[in-house]
């Protein structure tokens, strides 16, 4: 049994979950759409984009980056629940490679997030978001967004294995929301107090959001600083760095189950 094939079987398990319980992914999507509408129409009227531009057009790539970040919650919750319910132990008692479980999460969670991204793109186009760039840039934007999700996947596996208890979802939420809002996902750093803006500019989420805006040809709300010049590089670098840290940590946490 190759590890890859076992990973695919575990991916199929998650896909079967969506067929069995379609409301779970649908509510996930509705939540993202609700956030989009709340910020786009409820708060959006009061927000101006530094450097000019329409707020909806500014917001959409930010929401996409935000939903990639929030994916960490889904990954961590599933990992924690499987560990708690003994499913992880059953997987570990099977003659499959030790990377199979992680590969299964990669398959399932990346599929889920790709669908979510497509829904946001289509939903955005419906409410007035416009792409003003070439297909290659659009593709690169999508890939950078998914790269962030990929990095978050390893953070999620690590947190799920480490915080196995019932409260793990809460703990991850508490971590994720401040990180989500302390970024350029929803407002530009240039509207924040200077020190806070500096912190937000170094948030990996800001890099991905700004790079996506750039590549979609949308207003970035950034007129100076590292994000103005190197957002695309940062959006590639941050997730790779996070992966380089959390992939080994996840592998270690999985091995530690043997302790």
């Amino acid at each position: 049994m190759t590890t890859l094939r076992a990973g695919w079987v575990i991916t199929l398990r998650d896909l079967a979950h969506w067929v069995r319980q379609p409301w779970t992914p649908i509510f996930g999507l509705l939540f993202t759409i609700m956030l989009l509408l709340v910020f786009g129409f409820l708060f959006g009227g009061a927000i101006t984009v530094p450097g000019g531009g329409d707020y909806i057009t500014f917001l959409l790539p930010g929401m996409m980056a935000l939903s990639m970040l929030f994916g960490v919650e889904a990954t961590a919750t599933t990992m924690a629940a499987d560990a708690r319910k003994g499913i992880t132990d059953r997987f570990r008692s099977l003659p499959i490679g030790s990377a199979s479980v992680a590969l299964g999460r990669v398959g399932a969670d990346m599929t889920n997030s790709t669908v979510e991204l497509l829904v946001l793109i289509l939903g955005g186009l419906l409410i007035g978001w416009r792409i003003s760039s070439d297909p290659a840039s659009v593709l690169l934007a999508v890939l950078l967004l998914l790269l962030l999700r990929f990095a978050m996947l390893w953070v999620g596996i690590f947190l799920g294995l480490v915080l196995r208890g019932e409260g793990s979802t809460m703990a991850v939420q508490v971590l994720v929301w401040p990180i989500g809002f302390l970024s350029t996902a929803i407002v530009s750093t240039e509207t924040m107090p200077r020190w806070l803006g500096a912190v937000a500019a170094w948030n990996p989420l800001s890099a991905t959001a700004t790079a996506a805006r750039d590549l979609f040809g949308n207003p970035t709300g950034i007129t100076a600083g590292p994000l103005a010049d190197g957002a695309v590089w940062l959006a590639a670098g941050w997730p790779l760095l996070i992966t380089a840290v959390f992939l080994p940590l996840s592998a270690r946490a999985y091995r530690r189950l043997r302790a």
Binding site: V9, R13, A16, H17, Q21, P95, R258
Partner: protein, 304 residues
């Protein structure tokens, strides 16, 4: 031929706790072997170590002729593990679960489906096959869990406290299932903290406490270690009682009842010789509970 499972000198520490402290075990092919002990005795740690889930600090263990420490992957092809939780996917249906585990055991899709159908029929789950497992009763869920452990017809099936948290009816269903599994020739290692469960199912019992074996043998022998049978006879008159008491020394005397610690046949012979009629005659064997409490108390006494 090598027994399907042997372990000697297993040690595993968690901080200051010696979960396994020189644990030895050998089980015979085709039998149900009960691993009996109180909570925290080291039963689950032993099962996890034998099923290759955790690393040992010391000791050697062989399962299906393979070393669990150096040949873990091949051991996993030859065992089924049914852990303390019913580790099946609740959202999926019963059949989906078995097909998934079958494919993870390396079966092709078609073979996994065929095997799933066989097992569902054998475990009385065919009608519930497509339903989500979350709608199953506790007993059905456990049976599915056990079926998942049997996909590759393992050399050893590990059952870690399979009836914990089940109601009496579900427990009986699971017992019946375990008996059927053993009848089909699978060797079963069953951990339990319920003595009646070990008594009901196991041909051989190993009693564990503080991470080591403190007694072992068939259930009847363990009971015998604790004390002889007690026979209590209730008679119709004080005269009969006196006559019987003169003939056989009693260990306890009530108004119209005598209790003896001699084989039942001797009591019956005395009653026949004296031509005494009885109101009631009760034979009481020491229960495994008593055996267990006596054994663990002895052990604690020794350790102190």
């Amino acid at each position: 031929m090598e027994p399907p499972l042997t372990a000697s000198g297993l040690k595993k520490r968690y901080g200051d706790v010696r979960a396994l402290d020189g644990f030895d075990l050998t089980i015979a092919a085709g039998t149900i072997h009960g691993l009996l002990g109180p909570n925290g005795a080291g039963k689950s740690t032993a099962v996890k170590a034998l099923a290759t889930l955790i690393d040992l600090d010391a000791g050697t263990a062989r399962v299906a002729g393979l070393d669990v420490r150096t040949d873990a992957r091949r051991v996993r092809e030859r065992i089924g593990l049914v852990g303390q939780h019913a580790a099946v996917d609740e959202i999926l249906g019963g059949r989906q679960n078995l097909v998934m585990f079958g494919r993870l055991y390396g079966l092709t899709k078609a073979a996994a489906q065929a095997r799933a159908d066989d097992l569902l029929a054998a475990f009385g789950l065919a009608e519930a096959a497509e339903r989500a497992v979350s709608t199953y009763s506790g007993g059905m869920r456990r049976r599915l869990d056990i079926a998942a452990g049997l996909i590759r017809t393992p050399a050893v099936l590990f059952l870690d406290e399979p009836t914990t948290g089940l109601d009496p009816r579900a427990r009986n269903e699971v017992w019946q299932t375990v008996r059927e599994v053993a009848e089909r020739g699978t060797t079963v290692l069953l951990t339990t903290q319920y003595l009646d469960e070990a008594d009901q199912l196991a041909a051989e019992i190993t009693v564990v406490d503080h991470g080591r074996v403190i007694a072992g043998g068939p259930p009847s022998e363990l009971k015998r270690q604790v004390g002889p049978d007690r026979v209590t006879v209730t008679l119709r008159s004080a005269a009969d009682l006196d006559a019987l008491a003169r003939c056989l020394p009693a260990v306890h005397r009530d108004e119209l009842a005598l209790t003896f610690e001699v084989p039942l046949a001797e009591v019956v012979r005395a009653l026949t010789e004296l031509a005494i009629e009885t109101d009631d005659l009760v034979l009481r064997r020491p229960t495994l509970d008593e055996a267990f409490l006596a054994l663990t108390a002895q052990e604690d006494g020794v350790r102190r």
